[in-house]
Symmetry: C2
Subunit: 257 residues, 2 copies
């Protein structure tokens, strides 16, 4: 008996209308849309495993999903066919065959996220749902970068994890954290071995406390070491967050990125 | 008896959720939101007159509206107060007192619009509702500019007007028409004395026929001279269109723009 065929898809979406990636009864989710589109094309019921869940309102440019399939259709053709059945907010950027031991989540060795925040008045109404907004006209970027430096490396990030999802460990390695000015606001870039539930949004929310001068940069270290979620800043809104890439030792989409 | 006070507001909005600017019973519109927000602040029922109607799904960065009011509140303070009562897709960028003969529509001597079109695959899902999309990877910009040149100046634009709104004349002056490449697509900029119903979207749709090589540039002149709507290209989708500015001989917002 031959090994089952496995396919991986590189998926982008605007999360505004969806209740996150993972299927939930009676609510629109990215997973359900992908599975329904695959079924529409092939009459085959597959399960689409994502590299990670994204929450309600969170966007993705490089979500990776995999599924086992008995379809014989070339996967790039399948990807194009699926796109005709997806809502306009979701698109398969590419599809590839992957080895049978590939798993979108278990094989992932890290993720890159960015978070976009518009600053000052007027509200960025044309980008409603696509960027977060704070009425402060400026933030102290230098202080925020000093605060972010305490987060780099391997730490127990419990203080920045929301309750609601169990993981074996809350130790993660943050490999990069860049904070850059952008037209009308600021963008936060993060690269890490993995991120706990709502961790990116809690890190951004905490650094905003520093950027507004309410906390000193080393307060971030105090919060991190405390392991106490109640000490961190507020969770930044979902709409600013984009899952940019999921990383693999042998990235099935590397020729495309 | 003193003259009644008149105020003008400079308004930006994302049109995606709205049935256009002009009030319609039982449907969310920009006009209704502005009037409701004014009422929430002042308990005064005013009528907000726009510089022009925008259709369902069309955005604005510089819509101008005016209203007559008996309020004594400084208008900049009023503008800030209104913003607290508007949905997140609508914002008043500025408010000024205007002479009693100012009328947002009747005093306007022109408008500037831009139209954003993303090209090629994948679909620009992160900008769903904010830009239009065509799967063609490229367009012939030079041919489109040659076609657009036939439109400049004063013409009867009947061939590019949709039925459904009566105006005294369908003669308008198109003062500028720029077509520029933009990251991942193309942007059309138009400046004119006024625009007929759906005229911008019909001009863009017709130039797309030229950009795709289906029609020669001088076909645009043939359509213009025919005055026959059935000969023009398809109406380009609403989501690409932004009302950029409404122009006045004495622009009440000129210090701000």
């Amino acid at each position: 008996m031959s090994e089952p065929r496995k396919c991986a898809l590189l998926v982008a979406y605007h999360g505004g209308k969806f209740f996150g990636f993972q299927r939930q009864p009676g609510k629109p989710t990215i997973q359900e849309e992908l599975e329904a589109a695959w079924f529409a094309v092939s009459s085959e019921k597959v399960v689409m495993y994502g590299s990670g869940r994204t929450d309600s309102g969170v966007h993705a440019w490089g979500q990776v999903v995999h599924c086992a399939t008995e379809s014989k259709m070339p996967v790039d053709k399948m990807a194009r066919a699926i796109n005709a059945h997806l809502p306009e907010e979701v698109v398969v950027r590419a599809g590839v065959d992957v080895p049978s031991d590939f798993h979108a989540q278990a094989s992932s060795i890290g993720k890159r996220y960015f978070y976009r925040l518009a600053l000052g008045n007027p509200r960025p109404v044309l980008h409603t749902g696509l960027v977060a907004w704070d009425s402060s006209p400026t933030l102290d970027l230098l202080a925020m970068r000093q605060g972010a430096a305490f987060l780099l490396g391997e730490h127990d990030f419990s203080a920045f994890a929301a309750a609601g999802r169990s993981t074996k460990t809350s130790v993660r390695r943050l490999r990069a954290f860049h904070i850059r000015p952008s037209r009308g606001g600021v963008v936060f870039y993060m690269d890490g071995s993995g991120f706990l539930y709502k961790m990116v949004r809690n890190l951004v929310g905490s650094l905003l406390e520093v950027g507004k001068g309410r906390r000193a940069p080393d307060w971030v270290e105090t919060v991190l070491e405390s392991g106490d979620r109640k000490r961190a800043g507020a969770t930044a809104p979902a709409e600013g967050l984009v899952l940019w890439r999921s990383l693999y030792p042998k990235d099935p989409f590397s020729p495309l990125l």
